[in-house]
Amino acid sequence: MPQIAVLTKLTDLANPTRFLGLASRLLPWMAGITAILFAIGLYLSFAGEGDYQQGMTVRIMYVHVPAAWLSMMCYSVMAASAIGTLVWRHPLADVSHKAAAPLGAAFTLIALATGSLWGKPMWGTWWVWDARLTSVFVLFLMYLGLIALNRAMDDPGKAARVSAVLILVGFVNIPIIKFSVDWWNTLHQPASVIRMGGSTIDSTFLWPLLIMAFAFTMLFFTLHIAAMRNEIWRRRVSAQRRMAARMAGQTSEKGA
């Protein structure tokens, strides 16, 4: 039985049990806060008047802008986790950036799709190859590539370390996305909410936007922790299956 003891120790390394306990206590609260924030945010976004110029399509902003922020924040969380993987060899960091990649891809897809829907009535086109749109599209491709790389390897520890390297190299794209609207003159408007000299958005639009942004952030962390919990459980199940297979092998050897 010493092998089994080693296996249990390996799965308990850096105490995922404590994380699981924390997650199960936190998750209902976080899900509740997310739901309340979404209720307030969605009510405010639909209760307010339309823009004098953009009409009703301005409401797309309340989904588009938070999703775009989250697509970049998710990559930053992944980059921080990647540092955790490479520097401290922390198993939770491995799980964290693996769980965050599909979420990031989803938020990026939402941002691209809503942006496209918004662009059709406002710019007259679904898609333009300007710097902001192109760099976000590249971010989407990088998320998909990272997911593919993670899936391609059997050993989760090795997959995590190798994709951590790639995450850190790909991080050069994040400042490019952030400043693309300042560096190049593009069809996409420059930053208007967080900028030097105060926001240029009227407060009737700003409040719903901020609440929606907060709701999206809470949604991300809720889903992220839930996905991490699932990933840990998945690893435990596969470790226990391996253990069961090994025990079955030993008993059949004895029987033979």
Partner: protein
């Protein structure tokens, strides 16, 4: 270090290396374009620099997966990992050898393909110059991808998918510099200098990242 450079060069030029295959692929890709868009010489000369750049990008991706894989198969990668020199430096030398074997032939072949595309002399010269400066960046970025996928049995396609998004800035500035040389109002130097900066940047980041990935991917 010089011995390693020479060894890699010899390996890439002799049978089994991909150097000439890369040039052949480059020629084929560019030759296929007129069949797709029609043999209109004015149109071809207008899109020529972009076609040559895209062809070079695709052919540069072609040989990447063999960069560390052959070394891993014959065991010399373990020796490289064990030696006392900083690994990033070794990777840099391997990148240079890979570029001399795979990238430089593409640059040399590009004027001929420029002629096929009915480009004028200035455009051909500009495209060749931007390729000369830009293809090392592709190799350095590719080194990270190759190192990440070194342990995968069929990593070739995955390397291309991982590397292409990062290679897009190189393509953008390479093509815009080539066009700027031909079209009057746009100046040539700014995009060209940005291209040089990208190459310098990835010359540092690429070998460091590849070295980190190689250490971690080792079994």
């Amino acid at each position: 270090m010089i011995a390693l450079l020479l060894r890699d060069l010899k390996l890439s030029v002799r049978a089994g290396g991909g150097a000439l295959i890369g040039v052949l692929f480059f020629t084929t890709v560019v030759a296929v374009i007129p069949f797709g868009v029609g043999p209109d010489l004015n149109l071809l000369s207008r899109i020529g620099p972009a076609i040559v750049w895209i062809g070079a990008l695709l052919s540069a991706l072609l040989g990447l997966d063999r960069m560390f894989q052959t070394d891993r198969e014959d065991g010399s990668l373990d020796l490289i990992l064990m030696q006392e020199h900083p690994l990033a430096l070794t990777v840099l030398v391997k990148c240079l050898a890979h570029w001399l074997g795979n990238g430089l032939p593409l640059v040399i072949a590009s004027p001929l393909l420029g002629l096929f595309m009915n480009m004028d002399e200035v455009a051909i010269g500009a495209t060749m110059l931007t390729l000369l400066v830009g293809t090392p960046a592709l190799t350095f970025i590719g080194a990270v991808g190759a190192a990440v996928a070194v342990a995968l049995p069929r990593g070739g396609l995955l390397v291309s998918i991982l590397v292409l998004p990062l290679a897009i800035p190189v393509l953008i500035f390479g093509v815009s510099a080539s066009y700027a040389a031909v079209q009057d109002p746009a100046p040539f130097m700014p995009p060209f200098l940005i291209l040089v900066a990208i190459t310098m940047f990835f010359a540092v980041l690429g070998p460091l990242g590849a070295a980190l990935a190689l250490r971690n991917a080792g079994d």
